[in-house]
Subunit: 313 residues, 2 copies
């Protein structure tokens, strides 16, 4: 353990990998590591990248990452796929492209699939962000797939949220994405050489103008990720947003929030495990559960009864 942490502190990527594995398996050792590495440096810029399937998230992440490495930054990438509890996240990103990235110096990639509980994904992501930050990564990119509450929770960990769209992907998906639009800090219209790109930009600008957001006016960028076009502008914009966050103290606030949310998440986990452990093993609760299943006791009265056994008043 001590040796592992020693190599971790010496910036050995093998140690980072082992540490992440321990944390992911939720072992005692994992929690010990999280405790020890708590002194979050708070230095890393956490960037969330999202968008519908087919928008080119992986390509863009990959090109962005390469340019950042060339500029001397160290990078951590977290791929989050909340859509496939059954497939175990086998569809995460473009595996081959990602493997290529992993060969770059100072790039570390971690894939994350659902680990059972609904809230678990965002908490795991937050833990990994902390570990990567503690390890000394300058920039941490969270790439996430799909829509839904889990995506929101994951994106909320980020300092800067980038939403990637493509021209002509259809109104249906744009509509579904409406919720996400409100939390994006930077909009990217990728595959901007396709017809309809300028209209998409116009639509987005109009939408931003109409939004009630006051703290920051998101900009709309055009990229052709496959050709590396627009990537350096995206980097500049991310820098500008970071400066904005620091100036307005939102940067500091976000770090406090992150700490607090990780605490609440862990507390929920402990409580949940403890409650489950108790009502599954306590003989007094067994008959209640049987009655619930048979429909002879209503689930609400049963829940109240069992809560009384477990919670201190």
């Amino acid at each position: 353990m001590d040796k592992l942490m020693e190599t971790f502190e010496k910036n050995d990527p093998v140690a980072l990998g082992r540490v992440l594995k321990e944390v992911e398996s939720q072992s005692e050792k994992g929690y010990e590591i999280l405790k020890r590495t708590n002194k979050e440096k708070g230095k890393a810029h956490v960037i969330g990248i999202t968008g519908p399937p087919g928008a080119g998230k992986s390509t863009l992440t990959s090109k962005l990452c390469k340019q950042l490495v060339n500029k001397g930054f160290t990078i951590g990438i977290i791929c989050v796929d909340p859509t496939s509890p059954f497939t175990g996240g086998a569809l995460l990103g473009d595996r081959i492209r990602m493997q290529e990235l992993a060969k770059l110096p100072n790039v570390f990639i971690k894939s994350l699939a659902t680990r059972g509980s609904l809230g678990g994904m965002a908490h795991s992501t937050a833990d990994i962000v902390q570990l990567m930050d503690s390890f000394g990564k300058d920039i941490i990119i969270i790439e996430t797939v799909g829509v839904g509450q889990v995506e929101f929770d994951v994106l909320e960990i980020s300092d800067s949220v980038v939403l990637i769209g493509v021209p002509g992907l259809g109104d249906a998906i744009q509509t579904v994405k409406a919720g996400i639009m409100e939390i994006a800090d930077i909009y990217v219209v990728n595959q901007a050489d396709r017809p309809g790109a300028d209209e998409s930009v116009k639509d987005l600008k109009l939408m931003i103008k109409e939004s009630e957001r006051k703290d920051w006016k998101p900009s709309v960028l055009k990229t052709i990720a496959t050709e590396q076009e627009g990537i350096s502008e995206l980097i500049d914009e991310l820098e500008r947003h970071k400066t904005h966050l620091i100036t307005t103290k939102a940067w500091e606030k976000k770090r406090k929030e992150r700490n607090y949310n990780r605490f609440v998440g862990r507390l929920d986990e402990i409580v949940h495990e403890s409650v489950e452990g108790q009502f599954k093993t306590n003989p007094k609760t067994q008959s209640i559960i049987e009655q619930v299943k048979e429909g002879t006791m209503n689930p609400f009265s049963a829940a109240n009864k069992i809560a009384e056994y477990i919670i201190k008043s």
Copy 2:
């Protein structure tokens, strides 16, 4: 209250509406109603309908519903939209089409948007299913949008899951949907007059053949919902699946599961509220939380400490 329940038991749809509102607002009255109506009749066939945006879910649901009403069934529809915590579910289904449906005799529609907590949606849906069943609905249709864990949890409430696709919607969405595919009982290729329909059917059949599912072989139907084509075949297939469930006792098992999950859901809610209430008000916990935010105490030790205050050992 007694009067409300009396009219509810007399099958007054106005009473059903009021009851659902109380339950949705999570008022004391709502919980009281859920307790009183617990005698789930267990009669209703719960059908989950899902598919990507643009596949024609609303149209198909609407045509299906009309034919079922003509056959003399009473219907409850629950529209679940887990994608828009920010917009408050404003994008739910096709509003106008749904309003038309609501004019039919014996049809009741309830829209449901995210109510904050991640797990909350599935629990609310399960509560509404119970109420509609208790009210005497023969068939309850849960229409859900999007992908993600929430969708899974919602679909798990259903007896029969129908997955709607369209020809040529692209591999990207199909891939994302891979998880869902494994829980579908009936596949529908809608807009089957569009090119590529037969290939989609072939692909799906191949996928089913390769799947490891043994309890039930899902069939693949073609529909053109706008023209009412294929709807009666879908009804036949739903009947066949229902019979299969009853014969194999999966029907009974699902009802026990539903009761149990509603209990666990409610227990989680109670525990969560109680824990939050305690750590937000207890002065002893305040300094711990401050230290967590500042990063001087790690979130995991803090969570352990606070759990000790709250949980009986």
